[in-house]
Symmetry: D2
Subunit: 259 residues, 4 copies
């Protein structure tokens, strides 16, 4: 990891509530309620350092992580949490060079995580029917510097997916079963289909459709994440927990079914 | 995704029990109980196709995924499951170019998943005190084609980590707290520390040590994965479930602590 | 708690595998592979004592608990675990005097737990279509001494429930929705309906029927029980876990619906 | 179940927020914001009926259940939920005639549930060091009509339990390990010890103490309850969930240990 340089995005952290993402530009000041920071002064210093504002307020200067972006940018009703996003990346086998179709784009949280996984040689083709969504997503992805590995398009893919021979198709939409056939067409043989659905009714319909086409290894799981408080005489799981985000259904395309 | 070519590793799948991983070499035959397959015949065909042996047994020809390798190769007592591995990759922010220290190597399952995430520009430095482990791991990683992004070494890192300025350190060892200080030394500022521990006693000791050094965002979680059977009139979570694999503790290095 | 007396049922425990339930009868010997125990010698001694066989094998003499009976007697495919049984007893508000309809009887595990809760003034009316089930259940309940609070009958209650004004109706059957209307007829106003179903499909149909009749507080839950190993440096949840037994749906009868 | 009679406690339910528990007294009016109800008019009518106020607001007239009382009365920091209370009742084998020691009393929620289980022939001896707690508990238990089966006392039982030969001892206190020896003294042979603790540190200390005395079947579990939303095209676990209330540790007293 290199030191901070001109144009880097940084993450200024005071605490869980007061933290800011911004770009380092020589000559610019970053203003907070408790004084400003001269951004050019950070250049050449290590990430992880402490910087103090003109009025003595101290901040950590962190490098923004994908998971920071995910948690900050996602604003859709049905949120994809890091637990789900990470499982999707591995289950779809993403790595440098992977070609992926995503729909819908939503706020771009998963799009960024996928783009980070497929760079420098892959591409995410991300579709959404909402122009507003794609504007939000474009802004988020732009800031992250991951746009070179993303193609955004406003399109209703229940009417077909324009791509061919992709390694994976990921769906986060209300009627994923309507895209299963198009997903089969778009996927290369051995490629991975995945769908995220909050309700079991959606999972049932999607699975029924997957079963009617040459897909194998059709499976559905859900992930529960428990946060643990660790402190002397206070170690215990947290009282509040996210009980459900959604089900993850996956399958692999084959050219034809045995028998 | 391209078609099958000379030297590709393939995954021949008859069912959950009868499946084989092998390399495509023109002129070689792959023998099963129910006849052989002429491997050269596969070249130029698409992954996902069905191939039939000399005695009429049909197989799917799949491209091996990282998750297939993980599930097939891991033979350590404390198994890292895909749910844990995927979370580790995202939490440590791995992507092309990341430099990572891992200890111990174990069977190399996580090593491969990490190598796949950091290629083509990153590197995994993986240490283990057991020569036997590293032999097993080397064989597994070799087969996967990911060895260019892995450096294996037999070493006891409780006595220090030779690397500097790495982006992440991952520990899967019985006494991770003994390496926390060395991990701080090895990490670049803003870099991520992670540890996987089956017992809460280990988590407590590791967390205590993290709290005594310039680390922030210290947190522990565990992941529960539920498999769902989806079929008409039979939709339900599976009866048997893995109730616990281990806790995942993570933190980020800062240069110094505020106050 | 009184000391052991003539006719008491006792639970001889050597370890998790070798343990026996039997009745104390003066003059009788209980034979094990490692010698016999003179049962009359136990009379007047305290429960929890250690008794030694003629060949020196030592056993704990415990009082059988309802939960011991539940775990020992249940042999149905879809098992009701103590976690589910206990929740059912509280949710149905059972106490001395409660009148309850149960179908099916199965092995009688829940029947016994309910009978223990409603004695000395209540009654469990338990129906099953299988004569074989009821024979097994009758034998189990007889041994427990709880038969005075149970009436068993071989009957298909999808054709109606003969009881009126009962406090609770519990269903553990493959098509519970077919009995919801009869359950309403059998329940007193304010009485509790409950159903245990392994699949979500059953829950959906049962809930739809409950919604069509004067029932309120309609809800479905599931319970997950985690066993924790507690020992120095080994404290952790167990690796294996029951991931799902079934869903518990409950509701309360009202005479008519508001609006 | 009989019809409503003079002196019965009733539960008037408009919805989840507007509901009231009160006693039926002829000649009294119950006033709400939307008119009053003439309570004497309810006598002889069935529970579960709908009653309409003088200004036309309709309510269900329900019989209060133990679980309603539990959810309404508990005001302690560490709440015992119905999932935990029900498991405690079964695990301790409560039934008519059981003699139980409880500490602390807290708001009396568990006390009531236990009293309901042991009536008409058992008794709950409940201790608390806080006079304020016992006043709140006394008021709650009085209203429920279960006081005949409860003896409340302000006492610090880390200095000893005055009872002997009880069937079960239940502890919900910050340092349960300090009472394990006294619990052994108070229990009859074969009797059940239980303790509820939010932190794993408490569980470790309590288990260590149990292991040092003649206790067998020492075990710790935790229960997770998931609420399921069931509705056409919306069936799914709820988003928010209680991730942890506490651990339940149990054991059985024997007179001496084998070997």
């Amino acid at each position: 990891m290199t030191n901070i340089k001109e144009g880097d995005e940084i993450y200024l952290v005071f605490d869980h509530k007061q933290n800011y993402k911004l770009k380092v530009v020589t000559g610019e000041k970053f203003h907070t309620r408790k004084g400003f920071i001269e951004l050019g002064d950070l250049i050449g210093k290590p990430f992880g350092m402490v910087v103090t504002s003109s009025l003595g307020m101290a901040f950590y200067v962190l490098k923004p992580l994908i998971r920071d972006r995910v948690l900050k940018t996602d604003r859709r009703t049905q949120v994809l949490y890091p637990k789900d996003i990470s499982y999707i990346l591995l289950q779809m086998d993403l790595g440098s060079g992977s070609q992926v179709v995503e729909a819908g784009t939503g706020s771009g949280a998963l799009t960024m995580a996928m783009a980070n996984s497929v760079r420098p040689n892959g591409m995410i083709y991300s579709y959404d029917i909402s122009e507003r969504h794609q504007k939000v997503a474009a802004r988020n992805i732009d800031k992250s510097g991951l746009m070179p590995w993303v193609e955004l398009e406003i399109k209703d893919i229940t009417k077909g997916i324009p791509n061919k021979d992709v390694d994976a198709v990921f769906l986060d939409m209300s009627q994923p079963w309507k895209v299963v056939r198009s997903a089969w067409d778009a996927l290369a043989g051995s490629g991975v289909f995945m769908s995220f659905s909050p309700t079991i009714d959606q999972v049932m319909k999607t699975t029924e459709m997957l079963n009617s086409l040459p897909f194998i290894e059709i499976e559905t799981i859900e992930l529960l994440l428990r946060e643990i408080t660790v402190a002397p005489n206070k170690t215990r799981p947290r009282t509040q927990m996210i009980g459900h985000s959604g089900y993850l259904t996956s399958a692999r395309k084959v050219i034809e079914l045995l028998e």
